[in-house]
Symmetry: C2
Subunit: 232 residues, 2 copies
């Protein structure tokens, strides 16, 4: 098949041999009290698939992972975090030393402004919770990057291409992987995905529904080519 041919030719080429790649995956959990928290539906599968394939292509992979129930892929250095603040800290500490950064994690945009150390007792009536913004990791990486190749993700439910294109520019990315969460074989939880890859150099690839591992191969193939063309 085309995919297995692609897989074997990529592996043979070791297209990412020796490259230091930093990948983030999974959701974050933002604590309200010792029992309750905010989170999102990211399963981590897409980021883990990218980490697995990147390692097969010869890269030195560091995977910063939110709480997921997935096994660490072979030859991948995994660092577990829980909150957006921890994710920010770990990614920042590895950023300078990385050549490619792929931010597949679905980091919480908001966290409760106040958290309590004892379980809240419920009361009659409504309850209002104030949320504050977490640090925008991708924006921060885009603002501070020097020679790094930075890939973001956009998971949207409407106007996906428009949002994705805008995000690519606003966050100073080199490429963005755009997911339409409303498509049945795409997005969170499922084992398949269907994405559009846009590059800063205005290349646009549409990868039809395939396993997340196959999508990972296609993404990394185009990233490696784009990187090569920029002489990085």
């Amino acid at each position: 098949t085309i995919i297995s041919t692609l897989e074997s030719s990529l592996s043979k080429k070791q297209m990412l041999k020796g490259k230091r790649i930093l990948i983030s995956a999974g959701p974050t959990q933002e604590k309200i009290d010792p029992v309750r928290y905010f989170t999102n539906h990211s399963s981590g599968k897409m980021g883990y698939a990218i980490a697995e394939v990147a390692a097969q292509l010869g890269a030195q992979v560091t995977l910063v992972s939110g709480p997921v129930s997935l096994e660490t892929p072979p030859n991948v250095n995994r660092i577990d975090v829980t909150t957006a603040a921890e994710m920010y800290q770990v990614i920042n500490s590895h950023f300078e030393d990385s050549e490619i950064i792929i931010k597949a994690a679905a980091v919480a945009d908001y966290r409760p402004k106040q958290t309590v150390d004892q379980k809240m007792k419920k009361k009659d009536g409504e309850l209002s919770i104030t949320l504050e913004r977490t640090n925008d990791i991708l924006q921060s990486l885009g603002d501070h990057k020097t020679n790094q190749y930075l890939v973001g993700f956009a998971a949207e439910t409407h106007d996906v291409l428009e949002f994705g294109t805008e995000k690519l520019k606003k966050k100073n990315l080199d490429a963005i992987v755009i997911n339409d969460l409303t498509k049945p074989g795409a997005g969170f939880g499922v084992d398949t995905n269907e994405v559009t890859l846009l590059t800063r150099t205005e290349k646009k690839f549409t990868f039809p529904v395939a396993s997340k591992k196959q999508i990972a191969q296609q993404i990394l193939n185009e990233v490696a080519i784009d990187l090569g063309e920029q002489g990085k």
Copy 2:
């Protein structure tokens, strides 16, 4: 050992033979938008252990489960739900036909008052979310029960015995299993537990740290005895 002797004598006796038991387990997820939600740290392990042991003791077990990554125990009829509202509905529809109800699920007390069908875009600054109370399933069961034997759980971080005793009375329970979440071998996520069981008949049992399956055996043993003493 004491435990394996207990296990074998319980299994031999089939202490719950033919009893219709309804067990709830796991957390619920309360949607904010298609990506974000509130939840809690319940893993479902305690409820699943009770379902497994109850089936071994000959009971007809229906397990109403929130989203967990656990396998269904043998001979257990499992019904999956996501939200507190779904949990309420499924439990209500099985309640009349059940002889024993064990509510081990950690059902959300609050849900977002408004949910949106498109992913919210983040904005600068703080965000306030209004939460409303979900139905209190245990209170409703306690208020409406006729001949059913009703067991609740109390998972607390402080004044655990006081809260548990109060909950037993207020919710009109026959027994309550009290967890101290601050103890290292107890509560959410871990494979062990350490609980106090109180009955309406003022029996009090303290089960030291053991596997959740062993704790399940001890709870069901005392429930079966208490039930027998009441001629149910």
